[in-house]
């Protein structure tokens, strides 16, 4: 029952954000178009590189492109549907969380969905196109794709939430959050095979960044039940850890005494 209510709540916000996007149609199309082109320029690097070499420690052109496709889907999804996911540190530092805390719905979910970045749709569409071009898609792989995109997105959201929640503890965490975001982006769009065992351990067990893009690519190219279960386990674990850190931090939250008028 509660789940149904939340679903309706998220849907209502989605409709609201979509109508905003349609109101500023030119802006939406421009951001969408620029993001697609932006992503295209990034994959040119892999194209030029793999014209000169066959693989990097076993990772070829298609696998590297699929890494980017998964990253595009996860970032795009969070940007479009949970637009404040990169802004939480600022919201905490400015004391703007008050508005959401005073309302009956879950304040974290409410904060996240109350904004939409239209450029995220460009990432999503570009990612989907890459899958159809390079992913050898079948009905089975479509199912795998949906599951591992969900787990990868959850890992991305959760690891980022840990960095963002540092604002509860240190006040202004803009630099730290930005470094965290670059850490996530940087490490998730490169093959894990380039890192040595210590770093791989960190990326599988400490900050499970490997599950954002690398494991999904492995699963998409050759399915294994082990990696699927590991993905679900890793994403659930890091999500619970991030919620714990967030909730602990929330107790330290100090109201900004800020008056907000939401139009």
């Amino acid at each position: 029952m509660e789940g149904k209510k939340y679903f309706a709540f998220v849907l209502a916000y989605f409709k609201q954000n979509l109508s905003t996007a349609m109101e500023y149609r030119v802006n939406f199309i421009t951001q969408f178009f620029f993001m697609v082109l932006n992503d295209f320029f990034f994959i040119l690097f892999w194209y030029f590189l793999f014209k000169k070499i066959d693989n990097i420690n076993g990772w070829g052109f298609e696998s590297s492109i699929l890494l980017f496709a998964f990253a595009g889907l996860s970032y795009g999804f969070l940007d479009f549907f949970f637009g404040n996911w990169r802004e939480l540190n600022k919201i905490i530092a400015e004391g703007s969380l008050d508005f959401h805390l005073a309302l009956p719905k879950n304040e974290l979910l409410h904060t996240m969905i109350s904004k939409s970045n239209f450029s995220g749709m460009g990432d999503i569409v570009f990612g989907v196109c890459l899958f159809f071009l390079f992913g050898n898609m079948t009905m089975v792989s479509m199912g795998v794709l949906i599951i591992v995109t969900a787990t990868g997105t959850l890992v991305l959201f959760s690891t980022n939430l840990i960095f963002q929640s540092m604002a509860f503890y240190v006040g202004n965490a803009q630099g730290l959050s930005s470094a965290g975001m670059n850490f996530l982006t940087g490490f998730s769009v490169y093959p894990i095979s380039i890192f040595d065992s210590t770093w791989r351990f960190i990326f599988y067990f400490v900050f499970p960044i490997a599950f954002i893009t690398n494991v999904p690519v492995i699963l998409l190219q050759s399915f294994s039940l082990f990696w699927l279960v590991a993905s679900i386990f890793a994403s659930t674990s890091i999500f619970l850890v991030s919620l714990f850190i967030y909730k602990k931090g929330l107790k330290k939250y100090e109201s900004g005494n800020l008056l907000n008028i939401r139009v």
Partner: protein
Amino acid sequence: MKLQKYLSVFKINLLESLTYTTDMIFHALISGIYVFIFIKLWTAIFNQNPNFLGFTLNELLWYYGMVQIILLFGGSPVKEISSSIQKGEVVNSLNKPYNFILYNLCESLGKTVFLFLIGLFWVSLMLVFYVGLPPLDFKFYPLIFLVILLGVLINYLIGFSIATIAFWVEDATPYQWIYSKILFIFSGVFFPLELLPLFLKNIAQYLPTSFLLYYPAKLFVQFTWELFWKVFSFQIAFLILFYGLSLLLFSRGVKKVSVNGG
């Protein structure tokens, strides 16, 4: 005396920037993340293909490190200048006794010079740890600094020219965006120009964009006097060209500004 005021602008902005040391450390840290990833990526590639693109691993990583360090210096003025034009704030500078371009340039250099030094220290430390000292003899360092500085100035002036488009169109951001994409492919920011297909490389090596990052970084790892003189002379030519263009566009643009008082 004339230059004294610009030096003061530089100094004031440098001192002001020191207030945000923590921010700058994080900024340099982010550069370090990408340098680290590239150390791992190129090490894996060189293990399979020694002497890839005509570089040794040490040369290629110092090339990339140098690019990251240069990126921290100067920056692009497009956002700031075009917003000042859009909002009409530019009129406040028109009756002041300074050259608008040089004033903003010194402001930009002052704001970023400390960040540049932090980046230089941090990135160099990482590279010395992973691949050893850079290949270049110490006595050539002043020449490298000269070509880096010229590249930073050209980049600023190109950015300034783009920003002045705001006098004619409402928003100069799309033009800056197109320029940033050209930089992405043709400046050597992500990879040396040797990685490009031959026909693109032939075009890229004479574009002004390759004199901002690629050539200064390449000189740092594969210095020859012949290359130095080529780079230096092209940079001087581009500097004059883009300074002239900035002056021309700005002087034409300000004629379109109407002051309403108030």
